[in-house]
């Protein structure tokens, strides 16, 4: 089978946040994006570990940008979703969608 390793839920959230931030994605806004959209708190450590793992799996690429003064002269690490990452997200979405078929929340409640 050619399908990539399945993504965990948090991994999906991180990948989606990186996509949404379109070139402005580094850890601080990524975390804010997830927290504001899902109303749940995200541990910084968990986020770094996940970003690192996703990059290792080939789903993300990252680079260090120029250092800025308000960060004590430290550079930001920006992230961008690689095609493999986008593909993995598609798979996860497809898998979920097919599982949900006929069970959409509204209908179930009715």
């Amino acid at each position: 089978m050619n399908s990539p390793a399945p993504l965990g839920e948090f991994e999906q959230l991180v990948l989606l946040a990186v996509m949404r931030l379109e070139g402005e994605a580094y850890a601080v806004p990524i975390r804010q994006e997830i927290e504001s959209r899902t109303s749940r708190s995200v541990a910084r450590g968990a986020l770094y570990v996940t970003l690192d793992r996703l990059e290792e799996k080939g789903y993300l690429k990252s680079w260090l940008a120029d250092a800025t003064a308000e960060r004590g002269g430290r550079a930001k690490r920006f992230y961008e979703v690689k095609p493999a990452g986008a593909k993995a997200l598609e798979y996860s979405w497809a898998a979920l969608r097919s599982m949900w078929e006929g069970l959409e929340p509204k209908r179930r409640e009715a």
Binding site: R44, G45, D52, E70, R71, R74, A75
Partner: protein, 890 residues
Amino acid sequence: MKPEQPPRFALDWLESTVPRHLRESVIGDLEEEWRARAAKSPTRAAFWYCRHAAVLALRLGWFDLTHKQTKRDGHAPRKGDGLMETLWNDARYGARMLSRTPGFTFVAVLTLALGIGANTAIFSIVNALLVKPLPLPDSERLLSISGSDAKGQQQFVSFPDFEDIQKQQTLFEGFSAMVPQSVNLTGGVEPQRVRGGFVSDNFFKIVGVEPTIGRAFRPGDDALSAAPVCVLQYESWQNVFGGDPQIVGKSIVLNNAPYTVVGILPRGFRFPFDEVEVWMPHHTWPVFSAGNAYTNRGTGLVGPVAKLKAGVSLEEGRTELKTIAARLAKEYPAAGEGRGLQAQPLRDIVVSNVRQMVLVLMGAVAFVLLIACANVANLMLARASARQTEIATRAALGAGRGRLMKQMLTETALLWAGGGIFGLAIGYFGLQGLMASAPGPLPGGIVPGLDVSVLAFTFGISAFTGVLFGAFSAIRFSRPNLSGTLKEGGRGGEGPAKTRLGGALVVAQVALTLVMLVGSGLMLRSFQKLTQVDVGFRTENLLTLEYRLPANKYPEGAQQWEVHRQIVERVRAVPGVKSASVVRAVPFGGNGSTVVFEIPGAPPASKEDAPRVLINFADTHYFETMGIPLLRGRAMTEQDGPSTPPVVVIGRRMADRYWPNEDPVGRTIHFPDARNPTTATIIGVVGDVKHYGPADRDRMQAYAFQAQQPHIFNSLVVRTDGEPMAMTNAVRSAVWSVDPEQPMWKIYSMDFMVNRALGQPRFLMRLMTVYSALALLLAAVGLYGVMAYSVSQRATEIGVRMALGAQSRDVMNLVLGRGFRLTLTGLVLGIGASLALGSSVSSLLYGVQASDPLALGGAALVLAGVALLASFLPARRATKANPVTVLHRS
């Protein structure tokens, strides 16, 4: 002010823990968020930063640790893969298992920590005293030399002998005289006493120290014709001379004579004897400069210090000294036939007083550690066998024997690491406590510390015992009988071998604990005896001090006695003083000397076998002041004096020995060895005193009259109405009214001196009590553990018995019987061991035999009681069990 940086230490921590490739961005991100917060509240932001830095450092540091392995292997971690990964998993699994049984973990770690901690504290002291070199260069080559007479009795070396030894020796770098004696320093606000050392001009070369300011002694500085010079200890330069930078080249007045200061020794330098503050050439020592010391071969005065040449062994050095001594004895037989020379490493001399005590304490803590290890071993055995089902399951699922063993070892290692770390902390604080409660600082200015060798030692024993017992239980239980254990329904069957092992450990613990208890019992009894000793005089409300008149100011004996007499007279007149006297050597003060004597008419003894008596020099009111009872005759009076026949008062022991059935008063004693041989008439008999401390043996004693044999050195004893120390200033002023330049020292109350003499035995007794209580506690825990475990293992058997009609008394007997047998075996072994080890402590005991039945019996009784209680609790639980429930469970 707005802070420019987040808290430095938190930042540093992040820098050192976050994996390199994430470091830059993680720290930047956190700082960015911190800045936003710091703008509102800097304090809160700082706390926020610290909290998050700590969490991130832990999380990412750990991530890095587990992750590196994955990267190296090139695949995701899976259980059982890779050495590091396995170790890590084992450690995590082990930690989880340990945290699931917090009671066991707590007891095991605490037990180990106490054992290791007690060892660390004591070993730090042992290390400083007996292992580490003295704080002097090449100190292992430094020797203390003494002479010996034909019987091997130690004595000083005469000056002509000392010079001949120097000329004839070939294996030593040099010899130096070393005579410690306090000197009077005058010219300041108040006269002072400083501790002096009279040495040869090569002393500093031998000891290996150079003054930092000025110079050391030059060759020739100790010649009789040389001008007096001195070298100051850094601390005395600071304290006595206020660190005067111009002092070198200046003249100071010591013993009423001018000395030129030529050098200041480096800060912190201390010769391990007598805390000398000022060093002077030996020709200025009053005893040397007076009389014929330099030519008289018959009188020993020098206790030399020597340094072996590099590469020369102590034995070679001793052999050469022996040869030289034999040659001298043959050449100058008049100065003592068969006299010899002895050499001792300087360290042995320095630590000789405390060596035995320290070794006994080390033995005691080693016992505590053994007991602790036995305890943990027992706990591990019980635990391992309780986990047999789990282990069997894991083995059935394919875990190899090596893998299981590794798992067991890891758990043990975790326990021991915990014990080691906490033990180190206990050791550190224990050492502080020990030094704080010790009767005084260690000899020779030795300061113990937790250094690398102590760390290595504690972790060494901790690791060794850990591996030993870990491997033991691992080997035993990594061979599970799979089908058997699983078939029994998960009830780990108790093999007889295992019970026997646990039992053997308990027996060993009981035996070791008994030895400890006997030891502390002996110390207790000995201390009790010491405090009850009748010292022969009244110790309360007694003030004592010492002083030495300058011989060049009062060269004549008559002048000296006149000063002493006036001092006593003035002190007696001080309000609040009941009585005052002078005596050469005050009891418990450490001074004292013996002389050879002959009883006219008695068969003459050979020179070597001549009897000796402890001689002291008193005044007319001494016995009255001290409260020493006059048993017969009279004390010295004003009518006795330089021109009347010499008188002597003897102690009861001497009287009973030589005149058992007659009155010694009126008889004479001849003292041949004194510089002026005298025959004295006995005028009275007094009670004996314990001269060197409460533990002193009974000695033959005699008192001469100071008016007839005056001397520059004296001690003042003052009986006061109230608190003696409150009289200090009044007494000092009284002395200064006679001579305002006269310093005094060792101003103590007799109660203080008695207390000081009891310091070491009290310290030893307290420590032994603490350590044996610790041992008792550990042994009780061990016994309880084994009994409780054995009861739980035999629950089914007990249930069946009770179902078949056994009474709870029978069950009680069954369980208690086993506990009793184990305890009894341990007690018997322990008593045997105590008797065998008795000789090692006997030198520390007073008035008690090492085989003291009270100490032995008491210890056995206490231990038996505790042991019975420890096995009674599990036994009662067994009888309370409902047989139906127990049988149902299985």
